[in-house]
């Protein structure tokens, strides 16, 4: 039996007055997955999210959410919550108003969770949302998204502005919410390593294209960091693509597209080279630095 993907994007492009925001994006997200959407500023993350939420119209290509076009589709939109980084709120809307209106839009709204999180994040209920600090506004968005229990919850930069404690609280609550009621989360973030533990899948956008996409563990297994004497490291690398190289005196630290297999480890040990897994962030940073995906050895997905 095949399940309908939560998100299925085919050949999606979005141009604004000639400027390309998204170009030929393909993406499939299975239901009940936590996906990280990454990429440099202006890579097209928010544009993609807006298209997924039916808030914008594609120039070409298709978006399917639970198998249907989300644009003006009440049945699909009722299953979707999209909290923006700069989310706008109605005039004079207070924190208590957000808590009050949530259940009207989401039958599964978890009021208990919302109330608990307001206390956890120490939000003043009577305060107007627009007058809260950036971090507190972010917390209101986090609460809305988690309490909505929407089958597809999209967060644009949910932790931006949150203090370190609140960020950890968010990741904990995200995993807890997911464990209790599995659903699909798509979140964009620049704090990649911090979020990595919560993510199953990542999609990296670069200049509107998918530069890298896949399961987090598999992506990590595709590359290794080798540290050791220059000659020994180069001997191990052979013809494998090098993502990054840093000289350290007579030593070198190289990020290479080589799986950290037992074989590699034993050969490295013999040569006095240290093998370490590549942090997700390092992988994403390299992808962003390598430029156009055409000449990017780490690319996959849309190509």
């Amino acid at each position: 039996m095949t399940t309908t993907p939560a998100i299925e994007v085919t050949g999606l492009s979005r141009r604004f007055r000639g400027a390309v925001a998204l170009e030929d994006v393909d993406l499939v997200v299975e239901p009940d997955t936590i996906v990280g959407l990454m990429g440099r500023n202006g890579a097209g993350k928010t544009t993609l999210m807006a298209l997924l939420a039916g808030q914008d119209f594609p120039t070409s290509g298709t978006v399917r959410i639970f198998g249907e076009d989300p644009v003006e589709n009440d049945a699909v939109l009722a299953q979707l919550c999209f909290v923006r980084e700069a989310q706008q709120y109605p005039n004079n809307f207070r924190v208590s108003h957000v808590l009050g209106i949530g259940p009207q839009f989401y039958p599964e709204w978890d009021a208990e969770l919302a109330e608990r999180l307001v206390d956890t994040f120490r939000l003043p209920r009577r305060r107007q949302v627009q007058k809260l600090s950036r971090g507190m506004r972010a917390a209101v968005g986090v609460i809305t998204g988690l309490a909505s229990q929407a089958p597809l919850t999209v967060f644009d930069e949910p932790v931006l502005g949150l203090d370190a404690t609140s960020r950890q609280l968010f990741y904990d609550e995200l995993i807890k919410a997911y464990a209790e009621h599995p659903r699909t989360f798509l979140l964009s973030t620049h704090l990649i390593d911090e979020a990595a533990a919560a993510l199953e899948q990542v999609v990296v956008l670069d200049r509107g294209r998918v530069a890298m996409s896949g399961n987090v563990d598999e992506l990590r297994r595709r590359a290794s960091t080798l540290t050791g004497p220059v000659d020994s490291v180069h001997q191990l690398i052979g013809s494998a693509p090098v993502l990054h190289q840093e000289p350290l005196g007579g030593y070198v630290r190289a990020t290479v597209e080589l799986a950290p297999s037992p074989d590699l480890r034993s050969r490295a040990q013999a040569l006095g080279v240290d093998v370490a897994p590549v942090p997700l962030q390092a992988l994403v940073v390299r992808t962003g630095l390598l430029g156009a995906p055409e000449d990017n050895p780490a690319s996959e997905g849309a190509l």
Binding site: A50, A53, G54, Q55, D56, F57, E72, N73, D74, L77, A78, Q79, L80, C81, F82, V83, R84, Q87, Q88, Y89, P90, N91, N92, F93, R94, H97, G100, I101, G102, Q104, F105, Y106, T144, S148, A150
Partner: protein, 227 residues
């Protein structure tokens, strides 16, 4: 329909701003007028103070669209559900304030203009039919809501372009019409048309205005995108 009602509840959740504030404004405007009438001794005691409630309703509608639509859409509301929910909101607000104004008009009438022949709720010539008088208040307030909502829709969708293109266009079209009317000598006919309005025809024209603005709002919001 359920989604539309959720939008209506969203618009109506802030009781303080929505009900207490305009009622306060209305009563303070009335109080100021009564005070002025006691001090100034003149026969003609008419005032346009009631315009405050129309302005308030129009501003509420504009803000409801500009600020409410991005939020409603983030909670999975479609543009259509939002528009329907906002139309229902306009009807609720029009009915509520229309009834309040009508009740105060009755009091004004019964108390011989607050005991001093004042006309704050001044549609005295509408006193010919109380039912029609109530209907006129309700429909005209809904029209004010629809005009504000249309303005909010245009600003919400086109943002800065509204000002850049809208302001010069408004001046050109408005100025052009004024020139045309003056040149053709139509001013007399236009004032005459206003003077000939009856409660029934005024209500009708308000309804036409409300419908036209609602249709215009939907035409603008159909392709709205959150930015």
């Amino acid at each position: 329909m359920k989604r539309a009602l959720a939008v209506t509840r969203m618009h109506l959740i802030d009781h303080m701003t929505l009900w207490a504030l305009p009622t306060g404004i209305l009563f303070s405007a009335l109080a100021i007028n009564l005070a002025v009438w006691t001090v100034i001794d003149r026969g003609d005691r008419h005032t346009g103070g009631i315009a405050s409630i129309y302005c308030f309703v129009a501003v509420v509608a504009a803000l409801a669209v500009v600020r409410g639509l991005p939020f409603a859409m983030s909670l999975g509301s479609s543009r259509r559900a939002f528009t329907n929910g906002t139309v229902i909101t306009g009807a609720v607000i029009g009915a509520a304030f229309g009834t309040l104004c009508f009740a105060l008009q009755l009091i004004e009438h019964a108390s011989d203009g607050w005991g001093m022949g004042g006309n704050f709720f001044w549609f005295t010539w509408f006193g010919t039919s109380w039912a029609l008088s109530w209907l006129l208040f309700v429909v005209s307030l809904i029209a004010a809501f629809a005009v504000g909502g249309f303005f909010g829709s245009v600003v919400g969708r086109f943002q800065m372009w509204t000002v850049i293109i809208g302001a010069p266009a408004f001046i050109l079209v408005g100025g052009g019409l004024a020139v045309l009317v003056t040149w053709q000598g139509w001013w007399h006919d236009i004032w005459g048309w206003f003077a000939d309005l009856t409660p029934a025809t005024t209500t009708l024209w308000c309804a036409v205005l409300a419908l036209a603005c609602t249709a215009g709002s939907w035409a603008v919001l159909r392709r709205y995108r959150v930015s």
